[in-house]
C-alpha cells in the first residue's frame, strides 16, 4: 500500500515566494520614497545652512530670499502658518466636533445616509477650487464688513478650516461610535437627557480619538498649500501680538506658499534662495512630524479601555 503524497510542489512554492517578494517590494517602495525625500531635504538644507547660519534662520524676523537686502529669517513664514492653523482650527474644531456629535448621537439612519456622503464630497473637492472660492467669493463677501486686503489670512484660514471639517468629523465620529452602547444606556437610565449623555459620557469616553482627529486635521492645515498660495498672499509678516487682527486682515505668507513662490519664481542657479526651499521644507516636515507623534502618543496614552 503506497503512502499519500504530501511532498513539495516546486511550482507552487516558487509562486508563493514570488508573491511574497512582490508584496514586500510594494511595501518597501513607500518607505524608500520617504527616506529619499528626507535625505534630499537634509542634504540641500545642510548646504543651505553652510551659507546661512541656523540661528539666523530660526530667529530672523525678516524673510526676503530674492530682494535686497536678502534675509532668511523663517519666523515670518512660521507666523503665517500659525495664523492659518489657528484660524482654521477656530472654524474646523468646533464645527467638526459638533457635526460628529450630531452624526453619532442625534442623526437618524436616514439623515446619516445623506450627511456622510455630503461630507465626503467636501473632503474630495480639489484644493485649488477652494483657493479660488476663497479669493473670488469669501474675500469680497467679508470685505463688505471688514477692512480686508485682496489677499488675506482670514478668508484663507476660513477656507482651510472648511476643508478640514470632514477630517475632524469623520475621525471623531468613528471614536464616538466605538463608545459602547451600555454606557449610554447607563446614563439614560439615570435620567440623563440626550445632550447630557453626549457631553458627559460619549465625548469624554471618545476623547483620545477626538484629540487625534484635531491634531491630524491641524497637520493637514499646516501643510495646506494651494488655498494659501492663492488666497493668503505673498507677504511674509511677523505676528504682532499688539495687533493680532492685522495678520488676518492683511496679506501673509505661510511656509508652504513661500516654497511655491521660490519653486515657481525666476530664481536662477543653485543659490541660497533656491536652497532655502529645502530648509523651509525641512522645517515644515519637522513640525508636521512632531504633530503626528503627539497624535500617536495621545491616542495610545489616553485610549479608554472598555474591557
Amino acid at each position: 500500500m503506497s503512502q499519500p503524497d504530501f511532498s513539495h510542489d516546486a511550482s507552487r512554492t516558487a509562486r508563493g515566494t514570488a508573491f511574497r517578494y512582490l508584496f514586500m517590494l510594494c511595501a518597501l517602495l513607500s518607505i524608500l520614497t520617504t527616506v529619499a525625500i528626507i535625505l534630499t531635504l537634509l542634504i540641500d538644507a545642510v548646504d543651505f545652512f553652510a551659507q546661512v547660519s541656523l540661528v539666523e534662520f530660526l530667529t530672523g524676523t525678516r524673510w526676503s530670499p530674492t530682494n535686497e537686502p536678502i534675509a532668511f529669517g523663517v519666523l515670518p513664514l512660521i507666523s503665517g502658518t500659525l495664523v492659518i492653523t489657528v484660524g482654521s482650527a477656530m472654524v474646523a474644531l468646533p464645527i467638526g466636533l459638533l457635526t460628529a456629535i450630531y452624526l453619532s448621537e442625534y442623526a437618524t439612519d436616514r439623515q446619516r445616509s445623506y450627511l456622510k456622503p455630503a461630507l465626503e464630497v467636501l473632503a474630495g473637492v480639489p484644493t485649488v477650487v477652494y483657493g479660488y472660492f476663497a479669493l473670488v467669493y469669501i474675500t469680497p463677501a467679508l470685505d463688505t464688513i471688514l477692512p480686508l486686503s485682496t489677499f488675506n489670512g482670514l478668508s484663507a484660514s476660513i477656507m482651510v478650516g472648511i476643508m478640514i471639517i470632514p477630517m475632524v468629523s469623520s475621525i471623531s465620529e468613528d471614536a464616538m461610535s466605538a463608545v459602547p452602547d451600555s454606557l449610554r444606556q447607563a446614563s439614560y437610565g439615570l435620567g440623563a437627557t440626550k445632550f447630557t449623555v453626549s457631553t458627559s459620557v460619549v465625548v469624554p469616553a471618545a476623547l483620545s480619538g477626538i484629540f487625534s482627529s484635531f491634531i491630524l486635521a491641524l497637520s493637514r492645515a499646516i501643510g495646506e498649500t494651494m488655498i494659501v498660495a492663492i488666497a493668503a498672499g505673498q507677504t511674509p509678516r511677523m505676528v504682532d501680538l499688539t495687533d493680532p487682527a492685522g495678520m488676518f486682515l492683511n496679506s501673509i505668507q505661510p511656509m508652504t506658499s513661500a516654497m511655491v513662490q521660490i519653486g515657481t519664481g525666476d530664481i536662477v542657479g543653485q543659490g541660497e534662495a533656491y536652497k532655502s526651499l529645502f530648509a523651509v521644507g525641512l522645517t515644515l516636515f519637522v513640525i508636521t512630524f512632531v504633530m503626528n507623534l503627539i497624535s500617536e502618543f495621545v491616542a495610545s496614552r489616553y485610549r479608554e479601555v472598555y474591557r
Binding site: L183, A186, G189, L190, G191, T193, E304, Y306
Partner: protein, 289 residues
C-alpha cells in the same frame, strides 16, 4: 399633584435646577412614604400592555400589579419578553426606534405612556442595573455621583456617594480609593458599583436586568444578599433566567412564557410549590424552556 413630577414641565431641570427632594416630592403618598415595612400597596401596574418591535409582538396584553417595597422576580425562557417588560417600566424601549407600546403602565396611578410624561423625569424615579456591569470610564466617586449631578442633586454629594456605596456593600472594599477608576474593580465589585450608582439619587424603584448573569457564584451571592436588603427601601423588579435565584430572593414571581404572555403571577412560594398552570409547573421543573 403626585403625577406632576413626571410631566414634561420638568424637562428643563436637567442640570442646574435642583430636583425636588425625595420624601416631599412624592409619587408615593407622604403617608405611605414613612412606612418602612413591606406593604401590599401596588406601585407599578400594567394594564393590557402590548409591545411590538416592528411587526413582531414582544409582549401580549400583560396585566400585573407590582407591590411596593418588595422584590418581584420576572422569569421565563429566552425571548419571552421579560427584559422588554422591564424596559417598559422606565421607558428605555423608547430608545429603540422600532419599539411601539400599547396599553397602560401605571406608576403610582399615573400612566407613564401618557403624552405629558417626560421619560427623562420618569427615569429619575427609577434606577436601573444592567446585565453586565457598565461603569463609566471615570473614578468610583464620579460613577456614583453621576446620577446626582445629572439630576441636579448637588448638595452633600460626597456624603451621598459614601452612603450609596455603603448600601451597596462596597464601601469597605473601596474606601480610600474613591478616586481610582471604576474599571479597575473586579466584575462583582463593578456590578455593586453600578447598584450604588443606581441608588445614589434615591429612586423609588430599582430595575435589574439579570444583574448577576455575568458574575461568578461568590459575587452572585453578594448581589443576592444586597437585593434582599434593598427591598427594605425600594421596590425591586428583577429579571432573571435563574429560577433558584428567583426562589431565593423574591417575594413575588411573574412567569412569562413564549410569545410575551404573562402566564402566572403570584407569591414566589406559591409559584414554586403549587403553580396554577401546568405550563408554569413544566417550566419550573425544567420540562420545558
Amino acid at each position: 399633584m403626585t403625577n406632576e413630577q413626571m410631566t414634561s414641565s420638568e424637562t428643563e431641570s436637567t442640570d442646574d435646577q435642583p430636583a425636588p427632594t425625595p420624601g416631599t416630592d412624592g409619587l408615593v403618598d407622604s403617608a405611605d412614604a414613612g412606612a418602612e415595612t413591606a406593604t401590599d400597596r401596588t406601585l407599578l401596574e400594567a394594564r393590557d400592555l402590548d409591545v411590538y418591535y416592528g411587526e413582531e409582538q414582544a409582549l401580549d396584553s400583560v396585566d400585573i400589579e407590582i407591590p411596593e417595597k418588595q422584590v418581584t422576580a420576572v422569569i421565563g425562557p429566552s425571548g419571552c419578553g421579560k427584559s422588554t417588560f422591564l424596559r417598559c417600566i422606565n421607558r428605555m424601549n423608547d430608545l429603540v426606534d422600532a419599539a411601539h407600546v400599547e396599553g397602560e403602565l401605571l406608576f403610582d396611578g399615573k400612566n407613564v405612556y401618557d403624552d405629558d410624561v417626560d421619560p427623562v423625569a420618569l427615569r429619575r424615579k427609577i434606577g436601573m442595573v444592567f446585565q453586565s456591569p457598565n461603569p463609566f470610564p471615570k473614578s468610583i466617586r464620579d460613577n456614583v455621583a453621576y446620577g446626582l449631578k445629572v439630576q441636579g442633586k448637588d448638595e452633600n454629594v460626597d456624603e451621598k456617594v459614601r452612603t450609596a456605596l455603603e448600601r451597596a456593600a462596597l464601601l469597605e472594599e473601596v474606601d480610600g480609593q474613591l478616586d481610582s477608576s471604576g474599571l479597575d474593580l473586579s466584575g462583582g465589585q463593578q456590578q455593586r458599583l453600578c447598584i450604588a450608582r443606581a441608588i445614589a439619587p434615591d429612586p423609588d424603584v430599582i430595575l435589574m436586568d439579570e444583574p448577576a448573569s455575568a458574575l461568578d457564584p461568590v459575587a452572585t451571592s453578594k448581589i443576592e444578599d444586597l437585593i434582599e436588603d434593598l427591598a427594605e427601601e425600594y421596590t425591586v423588579v428583577i429579571v432573571t433566567h435563574n429560577m433558584q435565584q428567583a426562589a431565593r430572593i423574591s417575594d413575588k414571581t411573574a412567569v412569562f412564557l413564549t410569545g410575551g404572555e404573562l402566564v402566572e403571577f403570584d407569591d414566589t412560594e406559591k409559584i414554586f410549590e403549587n403553580p396554577e398552570h401546568d405550563r408554569v409547573e413544566d417550566y419550573i421543573t425544567g420540562k420545558f424552556g
